[in-house]
Symmetry: C2
Subunit: 299 residues, 2 copies
């Protein structure tokens, strides 16, 4: 069992750290929000007065932060975590979903200080974090991945090694970009179908066995009815919030911009999720884009 | 076994009629192209000198024609097939993929003459037609569907009853519209992934078990490598031609226009498949849109 420093104990990081405690690890956490510290204490972990103190003596340091800027702030610069742990050289794991460039910058800075950092963003949302069923997409070399695997298994179910540094972030944004597009496609198909007089249950039964099948269709139908477990059946309570999907699609567009890749469908998807957020549905499940499209006038 | 008149013996209709002969039916066919008549003769069917002659005494009349205008020409107006068979009252089955309005117009005209017509478009392409493994999406009432089912089983494997008149066409265009969108989504994801340094095989292995999975991804990957059977691995030989996918997406857009439904993603998909056709790839598999996107400059 490992000594772990865990920075960022929010909606995701909190339950992830608690699951590491449950798995038998010695976890010391830090967050700027006092209530988050209390929650980790209640779960049996230790808390620290600062990030630097939390990682003292750790064999593994994990961060779970909102965005690339926070990851750069926490890890880089003089007095950043890489500086703090450069003598003890723990394995570094960043579980935040951030831009590929920030991930590679942090990884390179770690390498320069003689350490390995895995980029290990997750999918599965707060439910997956609480239940320890997250999916991890991990970038980094084989040896570091092998070392991080038993730790990640304490927080997730499917742990994928996606490739070298940054590959975890890259797979996650490509996956979510494709999901974002598929979901809107299903929404448009079901709205058109309804206007053509089709029964959604029949359409769903046929299309899930046909060439238009997708996870968005078979497990996450944005029209209420066909998939009882999907957010569409409970007024789009998340699930995966529109604001987070928009963040990921924007990350994909930043990466596409940086690499000069044309992504016309993803760009349109980004603007449709932006419109969904603007319509007040940022905290609804992203499949609520269905409702935006239903109310949209044909141009 | 039934006496069948079959009009339209092209790339799809020819092998479909031949499979009905093989299933033991007495098939008399007609086509404007002499070679198509020869092929049906060689397969053991009879041929007629006109459409009217082909349907004489038939219990079932099947049409397989390129577009709505042909279906209206053949079935409607004085001297059209409905007029010709109005005394013998066979079951009418139109297997063409056409606009929902034309399908409903033909069905209504048949009903007025005291006959039932099923709209029964197919998917599965020329390979499915030859092997008798087509999927049929069928619109029409229960009784007519029950009567048509054993006939359709002679040509296909999955026969779905989609709902009342026009529902077969409606399901087909909704299905193909969603497929059209999913395919471009996968293409954009894989092109971006490559520029981010990801390995396509790893990306595919991860995403097929994740939330971005789709038939387009798991069975029909537009990037060469991950799915060996897909057209991407043989220079995009079809498969399902771009020209036909464009036709179907345009049908979906005509239906969306007629019903006032906003389909921004499908509209963009239509323009991307149009650009693929304009680039000279009309007869390649529609997944060749991958190549269009690869060559596209980010705007």
């Amino acid at each position: 069992m490992a000594v772990i420093g865990f920075i960022g104990l929010g909606n995701m990081g909190g339950p992830m750290a608690a699951n590491l405690v449950k798995a038998g690890h010695k976890v010391t956490g830090f967050d700027l929000v006092p209530a988050a510290l209390d929650a980790l204490k209640a779960a049996g972990g230790s808390v620290a007065a600062s990030a630097s103190e939390a990682v003292k003596g750790a064999e593994i340091v994990i961060t779970m932060l909102p965005a690339g800027e926070h990851v750069r702030q926490v890890w880089l610069h003089q007095g950043g975590l890489i500086d703090v742990v450069k003598d003890t050289k723990p394995l570094l794991i960043d579980c935040s979903t951030i831009d590929v460039d920030s991930a590679r910058t942090a990884t390179a800075a770690a390498a320069e200080a003689g350490m390995t950092m895995l980029d290990a963003p997750v999918s599965g949302g707060t439910v997956g974090a609480a239940n320890g069923t997250l999916t991890f997409m991990v970038g980094g070399d084989e040896e570091a991945f092998a070392k991080g695997l038993p730790i990640l298994q304490g927080m997730g179910k499917n742990i994928f090694h996606a490739g070298g540094p940054g590959a975890g972030q890259a797979v996650k944004i490509c996956n979510n970009m494709m999901l974002a597009i598929n979901m809107i496609g299903v929404a448009e198909g079901f709205i058109l179908a309804e206007k053509l007089g089709l029964d959604w249950m029949k359409l769903h039964a046929i299309c899930t066995t046909a060439t238009s099948n997708s996870f968005a269709l078979s497990n996450y139908c944005p029209a209420p009815g066909p998939t009882p477990a999907s957010p569409a059946n409970r007024d789009y309570a998340p699930g995966f919030m529109t604001a987070l999907m928009l963040k990921d699609v924007k990350l994909s567009q930043a990466a596409a911009e940086a690499t000069g890749v044309a992504t016309p469908m993803a760009a349109l998807a980004a603007s449709l999720y932006q419109a969904t957020v603007d319509a007040g549905d940022a905290t609804k499940d992203f499949s609520v884009v269905f409702r935006l499209l239903e109310n949209m006038k044909r141009g």
